[in-house]
Amino acid sequence: MEELFQTYLTFSLGKENFAINVEHVEKILESQPVTEVPKAPEYMLGVFNLRGEVIPLVDTRIKFGMEKTVITTSTCILVITINNDGETLKLGAMVDSVNEVVKYDNADIISLPTVGKQNKAEFLHGVLKLAEKFVLLVNADKIFSVDEIIELRADNFELEGK
């Protein structure tokens, strides 16, 4: 039986708001010294040292189809674990800011149309409306295991009518 409530951590990339299930989130760090990996895709910023482990770091803004991150005092790294075909991967996702932990009733989640001109539905669990803003619930297992840039913006999903 699926639980009725899910706990999400919300974060921002520029003006866009996203949320990730807290099950994925292991730690939140301030920005870290990073070692670049030569000739890696642009959204792979490199690797950093997390208490003796070498962890890959993703520029989430580039990954989601935006301009690259400019580091400020509110920039954070979410250390998340994802499941990719049975393999557990740990990575750091750099975001502009981390906002809050919230509990949503599953019933409040607006599911996305599975057809559309640019179907990105598989990368999202759904959308929430919070204080008149749309919050995209990212499917971390999916989005962080593919090697592409996935454009995710609320206005891509024709949500206005809902």
Binding site: E36, V47, G52
Partner: protein
């Protein structure tokens, strides 16, 4: 209730699997040793336990197949029946059936069922007409192997004058030699050098050394292996016995230290000979004490087998331990830095002690992740046993050094290559018994597998006394396959190494030549994937030796730390052969990705360009000459920082397309440096 029975059955299956493996290795060990009462006792106990618990938990078929076998071994135990080859084979078959029974929870397919019933009948028959074959009883006496006795060697070594900036540092050689035994070193300056002085003395290029060790000349030569081209080395045996164990002899050498470079081997031999008698007496005394020791060991071994020697730990826990330890070592380096900055001598002292402790802890933690090679040996024994039976060959397979430990991951990846080489040795190396006898050999062929440590490496040798490899045949095939030119001269070594080339083996050549070389390219590839190397030496009619050299662990590597544009990279030291300064002259000569180094054309890779790092290169840069398969390549870096022992950590699948980086490692300041894979760099950046 049903649950708990199932749980019991599950744990029975697991326990029994262990017992069966133990039984199998005991049975296979009977090949080359006299069957002692202890061994029979152990077999009986194992069979008895399997039968007992199997019956209790309702494993009917397990009970049926072990019941008669237990009786048979009971008779062997009480002397009413002698152990025979037939009994051994039937016991091995029982093991196979037991494995199937456990695997399938006693549900057998029709094929296995027939096998099972047939086996039960034969065991029963065996049991009834007891005195089957007395003359085939396997009571073979093992010849006493003389374990390496100590000898004293005289070593001269002089660096070639042409490369004074050679990277190799005598201290590493001495460190390795020091592990072999005791020694005295003389430098040209006339001082005999002790370990601590070596740092300053490293510029001295000419040495003489007297070394007492129980290793043979070949092992000493191997220490010099990678510098042998750069130095003139002479090693000769001075005298048998531990000459440096005698105080007066040491004193004698002290006396001649000032003019030792005027003396030759003969003069030194004279000094040594004075002590010949003393040494002979010592050897005799040692022999006696060794016998006592063997006796004492035999007595304690029974007691030891009852105490728990090892525990099982999941690999997760060990990985976690390793991570914590690496983190601690990193923190310690920071502490050291801060202590030195503070200038507080007490704090520095504590930091240093803590440093040495944490290094010990790290080394210790790493040895935990190593497992004895022996766990896989049963499989090899079984394969040799089965295959030689199938081919009607008689083969005595001996494995030495089963206790040698190495990384579990390496062992896993070694099984296939070793199986392949052993199969080759049994199938194509060792001749049929009649052929062997006709050639004046014993009908029984011998295949030996030796595993031992040598400094930070593990060496595996697979030796057979078969027909060897015909160099001429290989040469012909090499020419036919256009692997070598017809009109060039090659050394025998170069020719034999052709068998490791991908183009060499094909189904057709198998029947043409002795059959060696079937898929050996794959063996070589598998071994180089775990940073090992393989070589072969052979003598026609006498046999072949395959030598595999491996790192002790995949997770620690000795690396050379280099910098490019303020970034740190590590090049595995085993691939580095030399470091040069890149001067303008060489840059002008550079053409078509080649540059001239020491008169040779060497392909080069400017890592700053290849990695698209940008920035401007400093005026003075350095070249790291690295080995790529059998070739050399030059890697251009900004500067060389120094040597570094590093813990290799994978970067994960996000960087799977950047496979010229084999992983990351954490430096003393907590930052991550990337470890380069030289082979992959060559393949990746040669494309354009």
């Amino acid at each position: 209730m049903a649950d708990s029975i199932d749980q019991l059955r599950e744990s029975f299956a697991e326990e029994t699997r262990d017992l069966i493996n133990e039984l199998e290795s005991v049975l296979l060990s009977i090949d080359n040793a006299a069957v002692s009462a202890d061994v029979i006792d152990q077999i009986f106990r194992n069979v008895h336990t399997i039968k007992g618990s199997g019956g209790m938990l309702g494993f009917e078929k397990v009970l049926a197949v072990t019941h008669d076998l237990e009786d048979i071994y009971d008779k062997v135990r009480s002397g009413n029946l002698s152990f025979s080859v037939g009994l051994k084979d039937i016991s091995l078959e029982t093991i196979d059936i037991l494995k199937v029974l456990l695997q399938n929870k006693e549900q057998l397919g029709s094929h296995d069922l027939i096998r099972f019933e047939d086996l039960c009948r034969r065991i029963h028959m065996f049991h009834v007409d007891k005195d089957t074959s007395d003359d085939t009883s396997a009571s073979v006496l093992v010849p006493e192997t003389s374990s390496g006795s100590i000898s004293t060697y005289y070593i001269e070594f002089e660096s070639g004058k042409n490369n004074p900036e050679n990277l190799s540092h005598p201290i590493y050689l001495f460190n390795e030699l020091a592990l072999m035994g005791s020694y005295i070193v003389f430098s040209k300056s006339g001082n005999n050098i002790r370990m601590n002085d070596l740092q300053e003395a490293d510029q001295l290029a000419s040495w003489k050394m007297i070394l007492s060790t129980n290793e043979d000349i070949a092992s000493i030569e191997e220490v010099f292996g990678w510098v042998k081209d750069d130095f003139n080395i002479e090693i000769s045996e001075l005298i048998k016995g531990n000459l440096l164990g005698i105080e007066e002899a040491k004193h004698d050498f002290e006396k001649i230290k000032d003019n030792i470079f005027k003396l030759n081997f003969g003069n030194i031999k004279e000094i040594a000979n004075k002590y010949e008698e003393d040494l002979a007496n010592e050897a005799l005394a040692e022999e006696t004490s060794k016998k006592d020791k063997v006796l004492a060991e035999a007595q304690t071994s029974t007691a030891a087998s009852n105490s728990i020697k090892s525990i099982r730990v999941t690999t997760d826990k060990i990985d976690h331990l390793m991570n914590l330890v690496s983190e601690m070592v990193t923190l310690q380096a920071q502490l050291n830095l801060m202590a030195q900055k503070s200038g507080d001598s007490e704090l520095v002292g504590v930091a240093e002690k803590y440093g040495s402790l944490s290094r010990q802890l790290r080394d210790n933690a790493f040895t935990i992740s190593l497992v004895p090679f022996g766990i896989t040996i049963t499989r090899f024994k079984r394969m040799v046993h089965d295959l030689s039976e199938q081919l009607n060959k008689q083969i005595d397979f001996v494995a030495e050094g089963e206790d040698t430990v190495l990384d579990k991951k390496i062992i896993e990846q070694l099984t296939d290559p070793i199986m392949h080489i052993l199969r080759n040795s049994v199938d194509h190396g060792v001749e049929m018994p009649d052929v062997r006898v006709a050639n004046g050999k014993s009908a029984m062929g011998k295949v030996i597998m030796k595993i031992y440590h040598q400094s930070n490496n593990v060496i595996i040798k697979i030796i057979d006394d078969g027909r060897g490899i015909d160099v001429e045949e290989i040469r012909k095939i090499g020419i036919k396959k256009k692997l070598i030119a017809k009109d060039m001269t090659y050394t025998d070594d170069e020719i034999i190494n052709l068998i490791f080339l991908p183009g060499f083996s094909s189904a057709k050549t198998v029947s043409n030549i002795s059959g060696r070389g079937v898929g050996l390219d794959v063996v070589k590839k598998n071994i180089s994937e775990i940073r090992g190397s393989i070589s072969i030496s052979t003598e026609l009619g006498k046999g072949s030796v395959f030598t595999i050299k491996l790192p002790l662990t995949l997770s620690i590597i000795d690396g050379l730390q280099v910098r490019i544009d303020q970034r740190d990279f590590i090049i595995p030291l085993f691939q580095v052969s030399k470091i040069h300064t890149l001067d303008n002259f060489q840059k002008q000569e550079a053409l078509n990705q080649f540059m001239i180094i020491e008169g040779n054309q060497v392909p080069y890779f400017d890592l700053r360009e290849d990695f698209c790092l940008g920035g401007t290169a400093p005026e003075r840069r350095e070249i790291v000459l690295a080995g790529y398969e059998n070739e050399k390549v030059a890697l251009i870096v900004d500067s060389v920082v120094g040597e570094n022992q590093t813990v290799l950590k994978p970067l994960g699948s996000h960087f799977k397309n950047q496979d010229y980086i084999s992983g990351g490692t954490i430096l003393g300041d907590g930052s991550v440096a990337l470890v380069l894979d030289v082979n992959k760099i060559v393949t990746e950046f040669s494309k354009k």
